[in-house]
C-alpha cells in the first residue's frame, strides 16, 4: 500500500500546492479582466516581482523570522504585497490608464501588458539575477512526516513547512476575498462594475477608484502566489510565460470574470498537471500478476514527461475553448 502514499505525496499534496498557486494567480487575472476587460499578460512577472521583493527583504533583514517563529520570507510577505500593489497601481497609471483614456481596443492593452512584462523581467533580473535562489536564507525547511496508522503502510505522508503555510495562506486569501466581495461596499461596487460599467458610473461609483482597488488586490494576490511558489521550490526569475499559460487556462476554465470559478480552475489545472506527469506504473505494478502475460508494464507510464508539463494547461485551454468557451462556471465576457 506504499504506492498509495506515493500517490498522495506526488498527486494530492503536489496538486493542491500547484493548484493553490494557480488559483491565487488566476483570481488576479480574472478580476483585472472583469474590471478592465483585457488579459493581463504581465501577471506572471508581477508574481515574480512579489517574490523578488520578498527575497530582497529577506536578504536585508535575515534574522527577523526566528524572532517570530516563522520563516523570514513569510514575515516579509505583507511588505512585499504592499510593494507589489504599489507597483501594480503605478504601472496602471503610467502605462494602461493613458491607453484606456484613448479608448483603445482590448488587444492593444494586451500588447501593452506584454511590454510591461518585459520591463518587469528586465528590472527583476537586473537586481535579483537570473539564477534560482532559495527564500530560506540561513533557515531550515521543516519537513513533517505523517505516519499513517495502517500496518501495510511503512512510508510517511510528507508535507513541508512552506506547504502548510501555503495552505493556510490560500484559505485566508480565499475567505478574505469572499468577505470583501460579498460584504464590503467597495467589493460590491467592484462586482457591480464588472457586471455593468455604464450603470456603475450612473450610480455614482467612481470607476477610477474601483480600478485602483482592483490593482491593489491583484498585485497583493500576485505577491502571495509568487512567494508561495518560491517558498515551495526556489525563487526562479525566468518562469514568466510558463506560469502565465496555466494561470490563464485556470481563469478561462473557471469562466473569465468569475473569481470563484478561477479558484476552482486553478485547482483543476494544478491537479491535471500533477496527474499528467505522474507515473501510473507505480499504481499498476501491484496488480501486475493479474495482467495477461503478453502485457508488460512499461517503466514509465506518465502522460507527459515533466519537460512537457506546459502542454497540459495548453491542452486544457484548447479543450475549453473548443467545447465551452464560457468556462465551466459560465463567465461573463467571451466576445
Amino acid at each position: 500500500m506504499n504506492e498509495l502514499v506515493f500517490f498522495i505525496n506526488n498527486v494530492i499534496v503536489a496538486g493542491s500546492v500547484t493548484g493553490s498557486i494557480y488559483a491565487i494567480g488566476a483570481v488576479g487575472v480574472t478580476l483585472i479582466f472583469s474590471i478592465m476587460r483585457f488579459a493581463h499578460f504581465a501577471h506572471a512577472d508581477m508574481m515574480t516581482f512579489g517574490a523578488a521583493m520578498v527575497l530582497l527583504l529577506t536578504l536585508a533583514f535575515p534574522g527577523v523570522g526566528s524572532a517570530v517563529g516563522l520563516p523570514t520570507a513569510v514575515v516579509m510577505l505583507p511588505l512585499a504585497m504592499a510593494l507589489t500593489a504599489l507597483l501594480a497601481v503605478g504601472v496602471d497609471r503610467a502605462f494602461y490608464k493613458p491607453l484606456r483614456a484613448h479608448g483603445v481596443k482590448p488587444i492593444v492593452m494586451v500588447i501593452a501588458s506584454l511590454g510591461v512584462t518585459l520591463m518587469l523581467q528586465g528590472v527583476i533580473r537586473l537586481f535579483a539575477g537570473t539564477s534560482g535562489r532559495s527564500l530560506y536564507i540561513g533557515e531550515r525547511k521543516e519537513i513533517y512526516r505523517l505516519e499513517l496508522p495502517f500496518e501495510a503502510i511503512t512510508r510517511p505522508v510528507i508535507v513541508t513547512e512552506p506547504q502548510v503555510i501555503l495552505f493556510v495562506l490560500t484559505i485566508a486569501a480565499v475567505v478574505g476575498l469572499h468577505l470583501f466581495l460579498s460584504r464590503s461596499r467597495l467589493g460590491k461596487a467592484m462586482r457591480a462594475m464588472s457586471d455593468n460599467p455604464d450603470l456603475a458610473l450612473a450610480s455614482g461609483i467612481n470607476t477610477n477608484t474601483i480600478v485602483a482597488v482592483t490593482w491593489v488586490i491583484a498585485g497583493s494576490l500576485a505577491a502571495i502566489a509568487g512567494t508561495l511558489l518560491s517558498l515551495d521550490v526556489t525563487f526562479k526569475p525566468d518562469l514568466s510565460f510558463f506560469l502565465l499559460l496555466p494561470i490563464f487556462a485556470a481563469a478561462i476554465v473557471g469562466g473569465v470574470g468569475h473569481p470563484y470559478g478561477a479558484i476552482a480552475g486553478g485547482f483543476v489545472v494544478g491537479f491535471a498537471e500533477t496527474l499528467a506527469v505522474f507515473n501510473w506504473t507505480v499504481l499498476l505494478r501491484p496488480f501486475q500478476q493479474h495482467f495477461p502475460g503478453w502485457l508488460e508494464l512499461p517503466r514509465n507510464l506518465a502522460f507527459v514527461g515533466t519537460e512537457y508539463k506546459i502542454v497540459v494547461p495548453f491542452f486544457i485551454l484548447v479543450a475549453i475553448l473548443v467545447w465551452r468557451p464560457t468556462g465551466l462556471f459560465k463567465g461573463k465576457v467571451i466576445t
Binding site: 483585457f38 488579459a39 499578460f41 502605462f95 493613458p98 491607453l99 483603445v104 481596443k105 482590448p106 488587444i107 492593444v108 494586451v110 500588447i111 501593452a112 506584454l114 511590454g115 510591461v116 512584462t117 518585459l118 520591463m119 518587469l120 523581467q121 528586465g122 528590472v123 533580473r125 537586473l126 539575477g129 537570473t130 510565460f241 510558463f242 502565465l244 499559460l245 490563464f248 478561462i252 501510473w280 512499461p298 514509465n300 507510464l301 502522460f303 514527461g305 519537460e307 512537457y308 506546459i310 502542454v311 494547461p313 495548453f314 485551454l317 484548447v318 475553448l321 473548443v322 468557451p325 465576457v333 467571451i334 466576445t335
Partner: protein, 432 residues
C-alpha cells in the same frame, strides 16, 4: 503630416516621409559598413532581411486583420527545424539499422490510434447514447495514448542511444524553407481555427502557449533535433563561405532574401488592393457591418492568419539556415517575438513598406545596442567604483542583456501610447 486630401489618388503624392526615412536608414547602414567592415555588415543585413519576412508575416496579421500573434518565436522555430531537417546530410547510422522501420511502425500505431478514437467519437451514429460514446472515446483515447506513447518512447530512446538522432534528408535547403512555411501554416490553421471566433485575447494566449510548446518539443526531442546538443553546420541554398569567401557568399544570400521580400511585397500589395484585401480591412474596421454584408468573417481571418504564419515559417527557416546552427534554446521570446513586434508597431502596422523599414532600422539598433549597452554598463560600474567604491557586480554581459529586455518593453508601451500608427502609418482610404 502625411494626410493626403481624400480626393487625390495617393499615388500622385510625393512620398516625402518615406524618402527621408529610408535615406536616413541608408546613411545608417553605410555608417555601419564603414565602421564594422563589409563582412559583418552584410551579415547584419541578411539577418535584418530575414526579420523583415517575419515582420511582414506579423504586419498582415496585426495590421491588416487586427489579430495579435504573441508566439512568432514558435513559428520561427518550426521553420528553422524544417530547414535543418531537410538540408543536413542523411544519417546512415540511423537508416542502415532496423530503427526506421520501428519508428515508422510507431507512427503507424499513432495514426491507427487516432483513427480509432475518431471513430469512437462517431459511435452515436450507430445508436450508442451520446454520454456513453463520450466515455468510450475518452477511455479509448487515454489507453491508446498511453500505449502508443510507450512504444514511441522506446523507439526514440533506441534511436538516441544507437544513432544519436535520425539526421536529415540531404535535400536542398529551399525545400526545407517551403516545408517550414507549410508546417507553420498548419499549426497556424489549428490555432486559428480554435480561436478566431473568440475574443482576440484568446488568440494571444494560445499563440504564446503554442510557441513555448514547440520550443519545448524541439528542445527535448533529442532523437529528432539533437536537442540541446544542437545541429551544425546547416547548408545554405547558395554557395557557402568556403567557396566564395564571406563577403560574396553573404551577398548572394542577401540577394536571395531580397528577392523573396520583393516577391512577398509585390504579392501582398496586389492582394491588399484586390477585393480580398478590402474585405479584410472592412472586417477589421467594422466587424458588425462587415458581418451584416454577409462576409464570412472567420473564414477571411483564418486565411490571413495562416498566411502570416506561413511567412513566419519561411522567414524563420531562412534565418536559421543563415545562422548555420539549429539550437532550440536559441529561440527566445525576446529575440523572435518581441523584437518582431517592435519592428511592426514602430514601422507601421499594416504598411508593408513601413514594416520593412521598421525591421531593418530596429535590427540595426538592436545589433548596435549590444556593444553600446555593455559600454554604458561598464561606464556606470567604473563610475560606481570610483565614487562609491562599489564592487562591480558579476555577469556584466547578462546584466546588459536585461537592460535591453527592459528597453524593448518600454519601447513597446511608448510606441503604443505616442505613435500607435507607427512611423509610416497605413494609408487608409475609403473602402471603395
Amino acid at each position: 503630416m502625411t494626410d493626403t486630401p481624400r480626393s487625390q489618388p495617393p499615388a500622385r503624392r510625393f512620398p516625402r516621409r518615406e524618402v527621408i526615412l529610408f535615406a536616413a536608414l541608408l546613411v545608417a547602414v553605410l555608417g555601419v559598413y564603414a565602421m564594422m567592415g563589409v563582412a559583418y555588415s552584410t551579415r547584419m543585413l541578411v539577418e535584418a532581411a530575414c526579420y523583415a519576412i517575419l515582420a511582414l508575416g506579423l504586419t498582415i496579421q496585426w495590421g491588416y486583420a487586427g489579430q495579435f500573434n504573441a508566439g512568432v518565436m514558435g513559428f520561427v522555430a518550426l521553420g528553422g527545424f524544417a530547414a535543418m531537417f531537410f538540408s543536413i546530410p542523411v544519417n546512415d547510422a540511423f537508416w542502415d539499422s532496423e530503427l526506421p522501420g520501428e519508428l515508422g511502425l510507431a507512427l503507424l500505431y499513432l495514426l491507427g490510434a487516432a483513427l480509432v478514437v475518431y471513430g469512437a467519437t462517431k459511435l452515436d451514429r450507430l445508436g450508442v447514447p451520446k454520454r456513453l460514446r463520450t466515455v468510450i472515446a475518452i477511455v479509448l483515447a487515454v489507453v491508446l495514448y498511453l500505449a502508443v506513447i510507450s512504444v514511441l518512447r522506446g523507439v526514440t530512446g533506441e534511436i538516441e542511444s544507437r544513432a544519436g538522432f535520425i539526421g536529415g534528408l540531404g535535400l536542398p535547403a529551399w525545400t526545407g524553407w517551403i516545408v517550414g512555411g507549410m508546417l507553420a501554416g498548419g499549426i497556424g490553421y489549428f490555432i486559428g481555427h480554435i480561436c478566431l471566433g473568440l475574443r482576440s485575447d484568446y488568440l494571444a494566449i494560445a499563440t504564446l502557449g503554442i510557441a513555448e510548446i514547440i520550443k519545448a518539443f524541439l528542445k527535448n526531442s533529442d532523437w529528432l533535433t539533437r536537442g540541446t546538443a544542437t545541429v551544425s553546420p546547416l547548408p545554405w541554398p547558395t554557395p557557402g563561405a568556403g567557396d566564395l569567401g564571406f563577403v560574396l557568399s553573404r551577398s548572394l544570400y542577401l540577394s536571395v532574401t531580397a528577392v523573396m521580400i520583393a516577391a512577398i511585397f509585390f504579392l501582398l500589395h496586389r492582394a491588399y488592393h484586390a477585393p480580398w484585401g478590402r474585405m479584410i480591412r472592412a472586417i477589421r474596421d467594422n466587424e458588425v457591418s462587415a458581418a451584416a454584408m454577409g462576409k464570412d468573417i472567420n473564414r477571411r481571418r483564418l486565411e490571413i492568419f495562416v498566411l502570416g504564419c506561413i511567412l513566419m515559417g519561411i522567414g524563420g527557416a531562412a534565418l536559421t539556415s543563415f545562422n548555420g546552427i539549429f539550437d532550440p534554446q536559441g529561440f527566445l521570446p525576446l529575440n523572435h517575438t518581441f523584437l518582431v513586434l517592435v519592428m511592426v508597431i514602430l514601422g507601421g502596422p499594416g504598411n508593408n513598406l513601413g514594416t520593412i523599414f521598421g525591421a531593418v532600422a530596429v535590427y540595426l539598433i538592436w545589433i548596435m545596442s549590444e556593444p553600446l549597452a555593455l559600454f554604458l554598463m561598464q561606464l556606470a560600474v567604473s563610475f560606481g567604483e570610483g565614487v562609491f567604491g562599489w564592487d562591480a557586480p558579476g555577469h556584466l554581459g547578462s546584466r546588459a542583456l536585461q537592460a535591453r529586455v527592459f528597453v524593448i518593453g518600454l519601447l513597446i508601451t511608448l510606441v503604443l501610447r505616442f505613435a500607435p500608427k507607427g512611423l509610416l502609418p497605413e494609408k487608409v482610404r475609403h473602402h471603395g
